[in-house]
């Protein structure tokens, strides 16, 4: 208990003194996960919308696969990305292994099914009659679709928040593909692993508190939005 208390005290001092290394790692975590999220959203949101609106054979299978993607073990994502980006792998030529790009690729793959599934289910959750109603009121196909998307946008923000929370707290995949290189691929989670391994618990707690702060902030935004949407 004493260890935890003194650890937290030292951690607060580390954060309070704005230790440049701690600050840099925190910022870098946000940057890497932010970029991965933006890229994933750019593909996953259109994909989710398309999946929600389209009708074709095999759509149910695709929806099932997209949903199951959320349960894909992230450490397996790490292993697959490692093998793909290794010099022995098909994309070794890119030279991305053990660089921030490898982390972004892994986090992209982890974020994609979360954003796609939540986007899709948000649209599907809206009263299915609404689109028909809008069409019968004289809205064009595009107008009706846009109106539906407007209704679903809160859920999409929540989808992004959920995906961001997932990738920014990811450890296993990130340490496999990034290598936890100081000043290069070290993010909050992998730094916590290292500091714990070294027995530097105060530093580990400091980094842990920052990570908590980030994921709580994101979650609070999401919950607030959800609350407003439900209270509507």
């Amino acid at each position: 208990m004493e260890e935890i208390a003194s650890g937290i005290w030292q951690a607060l001092k580390l954060i309070g003194s704005l230790d440049p290394e701690v600050r840099r790692i925190a910022l870098f975590s946000l940057q890497v996960s932010g970029l991965a999220l933006l890229l994933a959203a750019g593909v996953a949101i259109p994909y989710g919308i398309w999946l929600a609106f389209s009708r074709f054979p095999g759509r149910r299978v695709l929806i099932g696969l997209t949903y199951s993607g959320m349960a894909f073990p992230t450490v397996v994502v790490g292993l697959i990305v490692f093998l793909l980006l290794s010099q022995q792998g098909p994309f070794g030529i890119l030279g991305w292994l053990f660089t921030p790009w490898a982390i972004i690729v892994a986090q992209f793959i982890i974020a994609f099914p979360v954003i796609a599934s939540l986007t899709m289910s948000a649209i599907l959750a809206i009263n299915p009659g609404m689109r028909l109603q809008l069409r019968s009121l004289g809205a064009t196909r595009t107008q009706a679709t846009l109106a539906l998307l407007g209704e679903a946008r809160v859920s999409m923000v929540i989808a992004l928040a959920a995906a961001f929370g997932r990738v920014v707290t990811e450890v296993g995949a990130v340490i496999i593909v990034g290598g936890n290189i100081a000043g290069n691929t070290r993010v909050l989670t992998t730094a916590i692993v290292l500091e714990t391994r070294k027995g530097e618990f105060a530093a580990a707690i400091a980094l842990g508190l920052i990570l908590l702060l980030i994921s709580f902030t994101i979650n609070i935004i999401a919950t607030r939005l959800q609350g407003r949407a439900l209270a509507r």
């Binding site: 053990f98 946008r153 809160v154 290069n184 027995g199």
Partner: protein, 287 residues
């Protein structure tokens, strides 16, 4: 509906500030600028977690305007990554694995850099009555006989390889199937923490043990020549993997055995502990 739209706007703004802005700035940060040369070094947790590499590498980076990207894992993983051509140079401590690595054509210029030794640690009440032994194999035999807990790295690291050698020296067979034998699959630091919590025996390099002052574990056996722990640097074979930075890797190997670096290795945390955590081998002994 209007108020609700406003709130979404707020959410977006917060998300944008938190996520998008730093993301857009990312490519401008240093880690994406590959202008300077870089060298990927895979190494063991003992050299990195103790702080040794952070102590000796900066002069190399300054002198050669190069960045050494250190990936600290177990010796087994360090060699496995290198054998795939994903590293330029390795610094490890498992001679049998190293020789295999070179023999398989994966490495060249294997060079002796430094040594320290392994010590057998245990709880201070010493249920296996192994303390004070200078015969490492005897200590292992007593631990096995007493059935006291033993925490193993279990990760094909240099320490794990040495531990397996010691069990076989002690004539103890199939330890993995014993219920007192805990195969952790963790780094040295994690294994020490676990052994400490469980009051288990374990094998560690002396450097990592000395660097962890908060442990309750004590040295029960040391000084056996079989517990000798040499570190070698090996360049990944540039004939096998053309992307290997062979020139810079060669410079790095020469740097490690240069008198200045060897002195820095000898001095590393020596004042703190009263002895060197790692002993250089290319330094003239003072008479």
């Amino acid at each position: 509906m209007k108020a609700f739209g406003k709130n979404v706007g707020f959410g977006w703004r917060v998300l944008l500030t938190l996520v998008a802005l730093p993301a857009i700035l990312l490519p401008a940060t240093a880690c994406f600028q590959g202008a300077e040369r870089s060298l990927v070094l895979t190494t063991t947790t003992s050299t990195y977690d103790s702080g040794l590499l952070d102590h000796i590498i900066p002069p190399f980076e300054e002198e050669h305007n190069a960045h050494v990207r250190v990936i600290s894992v177990g010796t087994g993983q360090a060699l496995a990554i290198a054998a795939r051509g994903d590293a330029d140079v390795v610094l490890v401590h498992a001679p049998s694995l190293e020789l295999q690595f070179v023999e398989d054509g994966n490495g060249v210029r294997r060079t002796y850099v430094m040594y320290n030794d392994f010590v057998v640690l245990g709880p201070s009440d010493d249920p296996a009555q192994a303390s004070g032994l200078s015969n490492g194999a005897e200590a292992f035999r007593r631990i096995a006989e007493s059935g006291a807990k033993f925490a193993s790295r279990g990760d094909e690291s240099g320490t794990h390889v040495k531990e397996k050698e010691m069990w076989s020296e002690a004539g103890v067979e199939s330890v993995e199937s014993q219920d007192w034998y805990l195969s952790l699959g963790q780094g040295m630091g994690g294994t020490l923490t676990t052994a400490n919590e469980l009051g288990a025996y374990t094998l560690t390099d002396r450097g990592t043990f000395l660097a962890r002052k908060e442990l309750n574990l004590v040295i029960v056996a040391e000084g056996d020549e079989r517990l000798f722990n040499p570190y070698h640097v090996i360049m990944v074979n540039p004939d096998k993997y053309i992307q290997v930075q062979s020139e810079l890797a060669g410079v790095f190997i020469r740097f490690l055995i240069s008198p200045d670096t060897q002195q820095r290795i000898a001095d590393f945390r020596r004042d703190e502990f009263g002895l060197s955590l790692f002993n250089p081998v290319h330094l003239e002994e003072t008479p």
